[in-house]
Symmetry: C2
Subunit: 225 residues, 2 copies
Amino acid sequence: MPHRPIPEATVARLPIYLRALLDLAEQGDSNVSSEDLARMAGVNAAKVRKDLSYLGSYGTRGVGYDVEYLLYQITRELGLTQDWPAALIGAGNLGRALASYKGFSERGFRIAALFDVDEGVIGDTVGGLIVRHLDDLKECVIDEGITIGIITTPPAAAQEVAERLVDAGVKSILNFAPAVVNVPPDVQVRKVDLSIELQILSFHMQRMQAIATAREANRRLSGGR
Amino acid sequence: MPHRPIPEATVARLPIYLRALLDLAEQGDSNVSSEDLARMAGVNAAKVRKDLSYLGSYGTRGVGYDVEYLLYQITRELGLTQDWPAALIGAGNLGRALASYKGFSERGFRIAALFDVDEGVIGDTVGGLIVRHLDDLKECVIDEGITIGIITTPPAAAQEVAERLVDAGVKSILNFAPAVVNVPPDVQVRKVDLSIELQILSFHMQRMQAIATAREANRRLSGGR
DNA sequence: CGACGTTTGTGACGCGATTCACAAGCGAGG
DNA sequence: CCTCGCTTGTGAATCGCGTCACAAACGTCG
């Protein structure tokens, strides 16, 4: 029962606070101020307080927040008290790396099945799982209670895979393929596009360079006077 | 020389338009309307027009946008006319996968060097590159003209690696480690955190479930009357 | 050459998120 | 029990972004 509807921007930061709190708990701190938490999360203190206030009034004025209690509340709010088994489709380079990526299991996510359409890789074992044919997807989603689909196929296949996932009843998709996928409004898609990130970095470098060049030209003009 | 300062949100979408335009060019279309481009990019037409207007008035009323010309303008604005060699630090599972990931080279980014601190992997060849010791980073950044650092180390090492990159003169960092890295204001950092994405999906599933449960309870109450 | 259908470019509006600033509330210490 | 310093929680102000709606501009066709 949410205190207030939680803004999307806040939801995206809760996992960061969660990680910071786990670190604090591990090093034995039982209490933390919004200022300290902000420093650890790389944001400012006002934002931390506003974000946490959406969960309820879990802090103590003059003191701060109880680490354990806050940990529990965020975990609960993020739905991490239950597990959400995931299926990964596309056992290429990236797919294989993600299938054996420790970061998922460490944070409570479990990849329960791998799929591909290439006969050459079907049957292979990756991270303790056997790669199955995509045609088995729907059956597997139902049997294993899969709730998340992770797409690591080439871009051309992404839309079809997304449709198959939706058809199988999956409501959450994490898309690594550099392609736009369209899904019904009740399905959540999040995309991770590695080259887009690089292109954004490129833009900023380009801009910095342009500014530096302009300043240089300007300095020369002033100097020439 | 930018027509107007380009909003960050627009910059993040330019790569998506770029990809759509490449597809159009490949299939031989020489002209495209904002509506069509919007459909391909998964946004609405007004947003496309506003975004493109920040680059200048490159469309023709009553007709649309010239694909080739727009391609060139976006490429230029994103700074993709020059190449930005990248160094990847952390030759673990994820690092190796990214080093041989085709998506980077296909979109014009080149990984020029690999680093690690583990003697067990130094000297290995991954994707045609030899893994070098992190201590060689600064020298290599200067020699090879590295402009981007990609961090794929365990979280505990991320901050130190970031500092070494900054010290070597790198101004753009793409961080895959699940850790917050602090850098000077003139350095751009973008983070890609796989478990955060899953946690956000988890939140929405949790919420959907809560709503479904509430509706169910409500239905029973109404039915009982 | 003028009327018409089409599509862009952009001013105006509204909404969500961030930041600011401070009152309210807490514990400690005398 | 009262005062003081500290920290939270939150209205209010601000900012950036998305959406709407329409005038301006273009090609076409008669």
